[in-house]
Each structure stands twice: as C-alpha cells, then as structure tokens.
Symmetry: C2
Subunit: 208 residues, 2 copies
DNA sequence: GTCTATAACAGGATAGAC
DNA sequence: GTCTATCCTGTTATAGAC
C-alpha cells in the first residue's frame, strides 16, 4: 500500500475513535508507520488535508455498504431493521468505538474548520444521492426515497452517539425499529394509492 | 449570577459550538468574563470538571423541553413532528450552531475522556427515564415508551449532525416525519389490541 | 475570592541532510 | 521520497500578589 494511502487510512481510524482535535500529527505518524515529514510531503495542507482525504475515502466506502446490507432481505423494512442490528453488533464487538468519522468530525469542527465542514457536506450529499437512488430501486417513490434516506442517516448517526455514550446496543435496535416502521407505513400508503387511484401516481400522502 | 455558574454556562455555549478539544481555558475565561485563575479556584479539576458541570447543567435543561414542546398538541405523532420542525427553525436561526453539547462531546471524547463519557451516559440516562415516563402519560405502553424515547433521541442527535454539516433543515424535517410515523403505527397497534383482545393488555406486537 | 505572570509542556509545522 | 532535529506558538495549570 502506498504511503499516502496508509496515512489517510490511519487518519480515518484515529478520527473515528478520537475525533479531530485529539488526533495529533505525531500520533498519526506513528500509526501510519511514517515519519512526521512524510505527512507534509504527501499532504501539503497538513493535518487538515489528511483529514479531508480520510473523510472522502471512508465516506465513499460507507455508502457502498447500504445496498450490500439491504439487498439481503426482500422486505425493505425487515432489511433495514436487520442492518441496524448488524451495526449494533459490529459496534459492540469493537468496544463501542465510533464507526463513522464523518459524523464525529462534523459535530466537532463544523464551526471551526470551514473546509472540513464542506468536505463533510460533500460526502453526506453523495450518501443522500446514492442512497435515495438505491431506495427507488426497492420500490419507493422519489420523494419517499429522499425522506427515507434522511431518516436512515439521521437515525444511524444519532445511534452512534447514544450507543457510544451509553455503551449499549439499545439505541441501534430502537432506531432500527423506528425507521423500519416508517418505511412499512410508506409502503402501505403507496400500495393503497396504487390499488385505489390512478396507476403510476402516488397522490395520496401517508397520513395514517 | 455567581461566577461558577457563569463559567459553566460559558463552557456549555462553547462546547456546543466548538466541541471539547477546540475550547481552551483562556477562551473560556474570556467568554465567562473571569480570569484564568478563577476557573481553577472554582473547579479544581480544571477544564474537565468545568465540562462535566456544563453537560449536567444543559442536560437537565434540555429534557424539560420535551413535555413543554409535546404538550402543545393532543395528537402525539403530530406533536413530535412539530417539535422537530421547531428545532430545525431554532437551529437555522442560530446559524446551524449545534444545540446539544452532550451529543457533540460524547462523539468527540467517548474514548479519550472516561469521566466525561460517564457524565454523558448519566445525562442520557435521565433523558431516557424522564422521557419515557412522560410518554407513558401520553398513552404509550412502557415498552413502547422506551422504544420511542430512544427513537426520538437518536433522530434528534443524528439530525443535529446532518443539519450542521449540510446547513439544511431537511434532516430535521425528515427525521420528524419518520419518528411521527413510527409513533402513529404503535398507537394504531395498541388501539387494535385493546379493541380485539383482553382489556389492559397490549399483547399483540406491532408487525404491520 | 480575584486577578497576573509565568512555569512546564505539547501541538503543528518546517528545514534540510540523506 | 524518507527521515531527524528544531522552531514557534499554543496549551493547561500554578504560584502568589492583592
């Protein structure tokens, strides 16, 4: 593996465990098995630029998990609940280390590091775009898909925070149940609209 | 206002905007209108102890908002969706500054500051206890109440992160819709169980 | 209790030999 | 491209006058 890739990867690992402020250049150098100077050789912008690369890299990797996890079940609601349970298990197995550097860093430096905030926004944007595109392939309308991907992302990021603080899987399990129920209610509404009304139109909004 | 209260309050304000690592003692002293030495006079434990006090203080204040906001509507699902919309508006008006130091600090230092993590867990614990107790007064069963308060808290904390990164109210609005739909589906299930089965028992679980 | 000055140290970043 | 030594600025924390 190339040196710059090793550095960015090590940064991602440190970011998700410690956040941006607590991660030092020397610690990063040790973790990446490279001397301090090499970091500045590969990343002229220093710590900030390494962090940006790490966010982009892990952001791209994470969104690929969505179809991978959700394709496992034919019923979308069931698939979502299972995915949250899987995330909970993963997190418990890693000692409640956070699994999403993007969320951690965003919360931490959104008001103090403008460029990192922009990188985070860019990453989140791709999550929303690719995620909602996937959800339409699972039968949701476009507006519902956008709503649901936001529901999933907010629930996951929030579950990370609660689970990390409480050292408990319960936030993930509850959040998964909640989002799954939301999706089930949307599917019910869309089915009802298709059965009752004009074909190809989802005019009746989910109210009950 | 007493000096130590001013210091803790200023710390809470800085924590929610900047996080723990980026907040320095000198900056805190300036913000609180007190010299550096006074901080150590009132908080022997230094920065860490001030942060702990700030988390406890704001944590207690925040959970009081829940009944205040949700009592506004007779329909619980409607109340929840409205509360998320209100939070979105508040956040937009403050320039997307985070509104929850507990979440920010937890994500940031859960693995590096054990005592602060414990304080955060304690605060979240009171949120869950008091929140679920309130929800039972709104007619939810005890197990459903616990599920719903987790759903609300994870959705809110996650929405903070996404909204802060994207500088958009959409995460809050979508998260609110999702949790509201979840609550509506639970209420529907409990009503059906009461109508069909034994009185006072919610044996039928929400499946559809 | 309030404030100032400073100690003791760690941080990010750089220069320049190899 | 790799590594070492070092600069400079910031930090937390303290000592001690008022």
């Amino acid at each position: 593996m190339k040196t710059d890739e090793r550095i960015a990867l090590a940064m991602a690992e440190l970011l998700r465990k410690q956040g941006y402020g607590a991660t030092g250049i020397n610690q990063l150098a040790r973790a990446a098995g490279a001397p301090t100077g090499s970091i500045y050789h590969h990343f002229k912008g220093g710590k900030r630029e390494v962090a940006a690369a790490a966010l982009r890299q892990t952001g791209a990797a994470y969104i690929q998990l969505l179809p991978l996890l959700l394709d496992a079940h034919a019923d979308l609601a069931v698939a979502i609940e299972a995915a949250f349970a899987a995330a909970a298990e993963d997190m418990e197995n890693t000692g409640w280390a956070n699994m999403c550097p993007v969320g951690t860093v965003t919360a931490e430096v959104a008001d103090t590091e403008p460029t990192l905030r922009e990188v985070a926004a860019e990453v989140m944007g791709t999550w929303i775009d690719e995620g909602s595109r996937y959800l339409t392939t699972r039968g949701l309308s476009e507006t519902d898909s956008r709503s649901v991907i936001f529901a999933i992302l907010t629930a996951i990021e929030g579950a990370f925070v609660l689970a990390r603080g409480l050292r408990s899987a319960e936030p993930f399990l509850a959040a998964g149940r909640s989002v799954a129920a939301y999706v089930a209610s949307l599917e019910r509404a869309e089915r009802a609209a298709r059965a009752a009304g004009a074909p190809g139109a989802a005019r009746a909004r989910a109210k009950a």
